[in-house]
Symmetry: C2
Subunit: 372 residues, 2 copies
């Protein structure tokens, strides 16, 4: 039940299953490794409906993109009161949650309301017919503390989260039918977050996502310049300098030259790596400091706003074709364009895909830099 | 100052200019053609700041898409009280609005806060450098009545709006540097509408929008089947039948097989036409009935909701390359997934471009059909 894959940074990984068969994995970083220590950390006594994995997907011939249909998600838990939070540990005298342990450091489990689920034998090619939306969706609980934020975890705990992400990326990439693994956090009610407990998500997609498909097309065109599109764009930003936010030994954060959002940053490793699993210890350690520090700048961006809604998403290389063309990077952006004002996606953005930004990348970078 | 381009359906077109030089065009359908009748319909006595046309755009190498930057839009009018609505006629004893006439049928004027503006000499190719975001943005006021909706205009007035759209599409398509003309309406505070007066917008883009670029790629792949992608998809929908909402002599409305939104419909002409200007009288007339009728079904979709937020966008063929591959169609969709609940675009949609829908196209179609 225990292995030592992530032991070198003193993270203990323990895996088991919930009442309906979903996998639960503890990543313990604090001795005596409380959550994985006891059999009762997997003693889920709830009577649960059988897990739902009836998601379907269809190919949209008009756009050339896959769209998933997960009707059971209509019923998902939506902003429960804090004492019914399903991501808190199961504590004496309280209703059982998704996590049977009475405390934990970082916990990952399969989403009860997944957009993608089930194992793929073989997936058929494009076509208008319904096909099962194979893949896997996981929830990553960053801490047992309901009332905090990712940026306040401390570098040690962020490092554990990174170990968990790397572990999950490697494992999910090996599942049959998985084409790409994406790791992300949605933070803030303004973007539809349904649970306030600090957590992120992992989607193991059965297709290469449209954003990556676009990047692959661009990387192909970029061929003459070495095909390392993300690396070459990073080099250009470093040379230009005006949009750099922060730069470490292993990572650089900058505002993209064609930023779409009111606050936006791209965080890129200096090495050409496909995914989080490929990061070495030095890269993980620096990331554990730079990432929460950047989120701190986001939260300080607007006066009188303490928690800016944001999406932080890791773009990882596809598992198969195109893997060598994609460099891992993190994209963090906010839809907040002023205190209490959001950027809406209306006709031009939503229907045409043509973004209009009310600010400039250089202004965003200047503001983010001064918040150091 | 007057021409008769749209005379055959008894619409009188009269054009002039506002105080800062922006063009204003009246499309009168009710004799004695009140708004165009008098010189004072163009007597704009406001002292206006010089018009802003300093929008820029940059090519996003990562996605292969253009992004526009219009910093002056930060200052645009935002939900003014009804008695300061800039789209109402200028009435005695009230502050002057964007429309000097004391009444009008349909009025079109250049947006004071345009995302794209100014004439293009030649536009340079792709590159990370800033280039001017040439083009034109217009506002289409559907009626002088502040407190109504497009679907309540009546077929006669909708017909006039169609004439105005066709006129503007033809004229803007001829401007130097314009690559594509898009006509759309955003309705509802939930999607960020800043003015409640019934109105739509027209964007004359200096590039082909990403959504169309995607469709062109698909149409190219579709080559073997005749390159009429939109037409072939329509034929498939008619054959399948389960997603058809309504079907006339000239138009068919259906829910796309891979719908992304909680309520969504595509309205396609039976002929392969590039844009609104190419519609004949019969097509315009039927559209003037079908379109508001469909919007009525949208507004009836949810119990206890009388005005569903929606985006209604006309996809028109590019002016140049690819024109023969694109069939005109209307895309109407709502972000409302239940009364008072919106579909949010979080990590999967916003960052990865991978849509997950909580409902199915067949359910949407069934509901829309029963609301006839």
């Amino acid at each position: 039940m225990t292995d030592t894959r992530a032991r070198r940074v003193r993270v203990r990984r323990t895996s088991g299953h919930l009442a309906d068969g979903r996998e639960l994995i503890y990543f313990d970083d604090s001795e005596p490794y409380v959550s994985g220590r006891a059999q009762r950390s997997f003693d889920d006594r709830r009577v649960l409906e059988p897990r739902t994995d009836d998601s379907r997907m269809r190919f949209d011939e008009m756009s050339g993109e896959w769209v998933a249909f997960a009707t059971h998600r209509m019923d998902r838990t939506h902003l429960p009161p804090a004492d019914l939070c399903p991501l808190c540990p199961t504590r004496a005298g309280r209703a059982p949650t998704e996590i049977p342990a009475d405390d934990y450091d970082v916990a990952v489990f399969e989403n009860r309301f997944p957009s993608f689920a089930g194992g793929a034998a073989t997936r058929s090619g494009e076509g208008t017919a319904d096909v099962p939306a194979y893949g896997r969706c996981e929830v990553v609980c960053f801490t047992s503390d309901h009332d905090t934020h990712f940026r306040e975890l401390g570098a040690g705990r962020v490092r554990t989260v990174i170990e968990a992400w790397a572990d999950r990326t490697a494992e999910l990439s090996g599942l049959p039918g998985v084409a790409q693994v994406s790791v992300f956090e949605n933070r803030g009610r303004e973007i539809g977050v349904t649970l306030h407990h600090p957590h992120g998500q992992i989607y193991a997609y059965p297709f290469v996502v449209p954003r990556t498909e676009g990047m692959l097309r661009q990387a192909e065109r970029h061929h003459g310049r070495g095909r390392d599109l993300v690396g070459d764009l990073l080099a250009e930003e470093v040379m230009t300098g005006t949009r750099i936010v922060t730069r470490g030994e292993y990572w650089t954060a900058y505002v993209p030259v064609a930023a779409r959002w009111p606050v936006e940053v791209r965080v890129v490793p200096h090495r050409h790596l496909p995914d989080l699993a490929a990061l070495d210890a030095g890269e993980r350690e620096e990331l554990a400091h730079i990432y929460p520090e950047l989120l701190g700048r986001f939260d300080a961006f607007y006066p009188k706003v303490t928690a800016v809604p944001y999406i932080a998403a890791w773009h990882q290389a596809p598992v198969g074709e195109g893997r060598d063309l994609c460099r891992l990077h993190l994209h963090i952006f906010s839809i907040m364009r002023a205190p209490r004002k959001l950027k809406y996606l209306a006709g031009s953005e939503s229907a045409m895909g043509a973004w209009v930004n009310d600010t400039t990348p250089e202004r965003i970078a200047t503001r983010l830099r001064e918040l150091a």
